[in-house]
Each structure stands twice: as structure tokens, then as C-alpha cells.
């Protein structure tokens, strides 16, 4: 399986982000929250502070590393929840049809009608900021694309000979869905899951930027950018590194998604999603 450039570059970028998040405690210079030393506030990047320091004198480099932990946790787990919900609903709706299909389709259209960021924002407003509420908000509002893809795949696969054959052989519906349909739609689902993860990370950053996701002093790339905005004139470098971290991580995921699409599901129409 020839790995395209997309997968290599994308995979590398994503891997760096994951490693940064996992090994943050060991490779960070200072504690991201506690070590605030006003003496060195707003220092430009230097040998000591690779990415400079913020208004409270905290080391940006360490905070970016810890920020990766939060963004990736939200990105990976929320998208996992999205993919699970979307696949379960879409697969069953496409396979069974009838009133359940109408109900799921209605639900999906309803969800699509409310822009996901706004729906997430509303949920965060109720649940209050914090990691768990972020996971709930971003995990429950973004499954509509996965659901539509799973439903479309189920619809087209269930008229295939081998699915009808398993019915005729006496397989139960559940067994057919899990052993005949799901394995043959994993390709497109992985692609849309990877691309979705990038989107979820952007959404978390946006919510944190608005002050509704992770609240200062905890280091989330979004909240760091929100603080950086106030010092844009005096310390412009504050906003460069967190933004770059988001960009490279999400770029990695998008490239990975495109690369996986060419291998797992070459002629799909989901290419345009």
C-alpha cells in the first residue's frame, strides 16, 4: 500500500501534536499555570523562553505543549462520540428504512439546521465552561455528516448480493449490520472521522477563544489566543505560536484524511464533503 505524501506529512504533523500533548510534563520548561513570574512578563522569544512569555510572565512554550493535551483530548474523544452516534443511527436507518429512517433523517436535518458551533455554544452556556461540558457539546452536535454517510452506504450496500445472501442464510439483522455492512463502510467513515477531528479541534479553539470553552488560567490554544488578542500591539508574538499549533495540527489531520481517502475509499463522492 503506497503511502501518499498526504499521509506521510499529515501523519507526521499529527504525531508531533500527540507526542507534545502526551510528554508535555516532561518536555515543558515550567508549570503552565502556577509559574507566573511578573518579572519576565511579555518577554519576546529568547533562548530561555523559546516562545516568549505572556502578560502574567508564564512560558508560552510550556503552555502550548499543555494546550495540545486539551485540544487533542477534545478533538479525539468528541469526534469518537460523533462517529459512534452517527454510524449507529445512520447504519440502522439505512438498513431498516421505514419510520425509523424517517425519524433519523428528520433528526439529522434538524441538527443541520442549527449551525454546530452555535448549538455547541448554547450547550456550553448551560453546562458552563470546562472539559466535560466541551466533550458533551462537541460530541453531540457534529454527528450529522457521519450519519448521512453511514445511511447512504447502508442503503447502497444492502442491495448487494452478499447482504441478501446472508439474510437468506438466516443471519439476524444485527449480525448482518455488524459483519456485512459495517466492515465495508469503514473506509469512508475513517476518512470523515479524521476530517471531523480537525473541525472539532477548531470548534474547541473557537469556544475557548470566546471564553466559553476552557477558561483561563488553564492553557487551551483558544484561550491563549483570546488573551493574546488584548496584547496584540505590545506582544504580537503571543498570538503566533498557539495559532500555529492549531493550524499545523488541523492541517495534519486534513492531509491525513485526504490521504486515507485515496487509499480506503478512492472513488467515493464523499471526496467533496
Amino acid at each position: 500500500m503506497k503511502l501518499g505524501a498526504n499521509i506521510l506529512i499529515g501523519g507526521a504533523l499529527f504525531l508531533v501534536a500527540v507526542l507534545a500533548g502526551v510528554f508535555a510534563p516532561w518536555i515543558a520548561h515550567t508549570d503552565p499555570v502556577m509559574d507566573a513570574n511578573l518579572m519576565v512578563a511579555e518577554e519576546p522569544p529568547s533562548r530561555e523562553f523559546w516562545f516568549g512569555t505572556d502578560a502574567q510572565g508564564r512560558d508560552i512554550y510550556s503552555r502550548v505543549l499543555y494546550g495540545a493535551r486539551i485540544s487533542l483530548t477534545v478533538g479525539i474523544f468528541a469526534q469518537l462520540v460523533n462517529t459512534l452516534i452517527g454510524t449507529a443511527l445512520g447504519l440502522s436507518a439505512g438498513y431498516w428504512g421505514g419510520w425509523w429512517d424517517d425519524f433519523v433523517t428528520g433528526l439529522t436535518n434538524l441538527l443541520l439546521a442549527i449551525p454546530s458551533l452555535i448549538f455547541a455554544l448554547a450547550i456550553m452556556a448551560i453546562l458552563g465552561p470546562g472539559l466535560t461540558s466541551l466533550l458533551i457539546a462537541l460530541g453531540l452536535t457534529n454527528w450529522s455528516f457521519t450519519c448521512r454517510l453511514a445511511r447512504a452506504s447502508a442503503l447502497s450496500l444492502k442491495s448487494q448480493g452478499y447482504v441478501q445472501a446472508s439474510k437468506v442464510l438466516g443471519y439476524g439483522d444485527l449480525r448482518i449490520m455488524l459483519t456485512q455492512l459495517l466492515p465495508n463502510m469503514l473506509g469512508p467513515l475513517i476518512v470523515i472521522g479524521t476530517l471531523g477531528m480537525g473541525g472539532t479541534i477548531l470548534a474547541e479553539a473557537a469556544l475557548s477563544f470566546l471564553g466559553l470553552g476552557i477558561r483561563p488560567p488553564y492553557p487551551s490554544w483558544g484561550s491563549m489566543l483570546s488573551e493574546a488578542r488584548d496584547q496584540i500591539t505590545t506582544a504580537p508574538w503571543l498570538s503566533v505560536f498557539p495559532g500555529l499549533a492549531i493550524f499545523l495540527t488541523v492541517l495534519g489531520l486534513n492531509l491525513l484524511g485526504d490521504g486515507l481517502r485515496d487509499i480506503l475509499d478512492p472513488q467515493s463522492r464523499s471526496r467533496r464533503l
Binding site: S159, S166, V168, Y171, T179
Partner: protein, 398 residues
Amino acid sequence: MADEAGQSHLGLHLPLNREGRIAEGDPGRDREPRDLTLSRSAARTDPGSGPGQALPLSAGGEGAQSSNAIAQADEAALLEVKDLVVEFQIAGPFLGIGGGTRVLHAVSGVDLTVRAGECLGLVGESGCGKTTVALSILGLVPATRGAITIDGMEIGSRGSIDRRRLARTVQMVFQDPYASLNPRQTVRRTLVDPLRLHGTTNAGEIEDRMADMLRRVGLTGDHADRYPHEFSGGQRQRIGIARALILRPKLVLCDEPVSALDVSIRAQIINLLLELKESLGLSYIMISHDLGVVEHMSDRVAVMYLGRIVETGDWRAIFERPGHPYTRGLIAAIPDVFAPAGVAADKVRGEIPSPFDPPAGCAFHPRCPIAVDQCRAPPGPELRRLGTAHEVSCWRAS
């Protein structure tokens, strides 16, 4: 984007094409030009000249074959289909809001019987309902009316189906070899899973039955651990047949089993199916639009048009003394290098009507070369005897 046209609201997604006709076994819709159909040729006029001399199949030759089929006539038929009607409510656009719900008359009153050891040929063009009949027999499509009994088991429009027992009685071989095997499963799992599902637990027995079945279809043990993409079209069809026979069914429905294969390997599968019928005492329903294949394999033949059987009988009666103008039209439509002039008169003109509103009276009258007023007025003709084991549904058949 609008909902898929003609998307039917039933458990099974029937591949409907734009006009709402069930694109079932439609001769070419999903078939690439991979095969070389030789539908009819010199033998029709000067029999003995075919270059190749074929080896005799059954020792008794032609005569013995059909006589033992008739001898079993009195036994209870293996499959009995009584007045089968299948209609689908196709919701209009926007989930029925605003658009009217249309009724698709896929099957409109079909009676069929198949006796043990018999091959019934089911012939007809797209939209005639032949695949829907097969799917109803398998319980994959709910019958709107009518009764189907297989080996004493009732699969009518009422009551739930004992899937497990049905699976051990009737199975199906599919048309497209490239879509009939799960690409993510090895041949071993495709054959072994059904056995375990139906209670065979002893590993040795499972292995033996799988190896035996692979051998019977002309494959070997070391094919077992390969994936479908490593096989040719013909080999995949063999695996499909092995899967259909692994539970030792009595009746096997073959839906256009060779029309998607390369021509030069088609004969291999036809011979295989006939051999297995003999060695395992199977009964077949052979669905095809290719008259040459149907004539070669069938003991009895039923010709279908727009959801009804228009003519049924012993294969010799159908192909040598066709009573219904549509059957004659089908035979005339087969291109033949030495087509005798007489045949041209039988040619059928015009388009196949839509099953959403079939023509009144005899559904064939718009295309029938010998249609008269009586044919246009309802009720349509019923099947009546034309000769021994030969029935036709046409006012003007002689």
C-alpha cells in the same frame, strides 16, 4: 438534494430506475459488456451441423430425463405459489407531503409449482417481476396477497417466517459475481459461518463439509483462506454456489447466474449447476432473459410479462409450439444469422409499459402484433390449457 426517485419504504431497497421499474435482473443495467452471448444460430434450421459434438450428459439421454420428472408429478410439490400479488407503495417526493403515493404492481397474481428434482425456467424482460417472485419465495419481499408453501412451510403474506428452517430449504445464487461475496471475508468464513449459525459445532465436521463443498464446485482446500478479490468472475460464482449449497437446501433460485460472466466460462457454470442438480437431487428456479440458457437447463418454463405468467409448460412445448404472441416475440427477437422470413412477422414493437399503471385487459395488447378489441377490454385473459402440460393466457392462442 431530492430523495432518491422511487425509494420504496420497505425493509428491502429494490433498485428502482427512474421510471419506477424494478431494475431487477435487467439484462444489461449493471452488466459490463464482458460476455459474448450466443443466443441462436444455425442449429435452428439445420440441426446436425454444429461444429462441436457435445458429450452426453445423462446416460439415459433426453427421453429418460423428462419422463422421471413427470413420474413424480403426483408427489406433493416442493414449492407451491398460489395467486401471489406483490405491490409497493412508493411515497411521492418530500416524504409523501404534496406528492401522491404511487402503487407499483410488481407481481399481479402468479401461480407456480416446482416438484422435487425439477428445474423451472422463469423467462421475461425487465419489469416483468421474475426477480420479485424469487425474493418473495425467499421471504425477502412481503407478499401483498397470496400464499407460498415450501416443503410444507407457509410463507404467505401473513405470519412470521422461520428464517432458520427456510434457510435450510431454499437458497439463492446471485447474478453479479463481483457483488455476491463479502469483500472483507475469506472464503472459509463465508462457508463456515452459516454452518455454525445452524448448529454444526464440531470443528472437524465443519472443515470436512467446507472442503467437500469446495471440491464439488471445482475449487480446492487452499482457496479457503483467500479473499474474493483474488478470484476471477467464474471462480467467485462457484463460491456463491458453494455458499448456497452448504446448508443442503432442496430448492435453489438462480437469478441470472451466468449473464454477468465472460462467455467462454459460462458453459463451465451451466454444466456445474446441472451436475450438482443431478448429484444432490436439487430443484432449481432458473431466472434468465437468455432463452438459449433457459431451453438448455429447464424441464418446465414459465414466461412472464408485466407481473403475470403469460405462458407455462414443458420446455419442448414452449420452444417448439409457442402459443403466446409474446413468447413468439421473444424467440423472434433473438438475432439469428439464418433467420427464416416467417419470424419477422412475430416481432414485438414498442416500449415496455410502466408497472405503475399496467394497460387494461391483456397487459401485452399495446405491443401485440395480433391484438384485437377483446384483448383491450378488461378482464385480461386467464391461463387455460393449450395441450398436455401447456397453458397460455391469451384469447387468440390456438
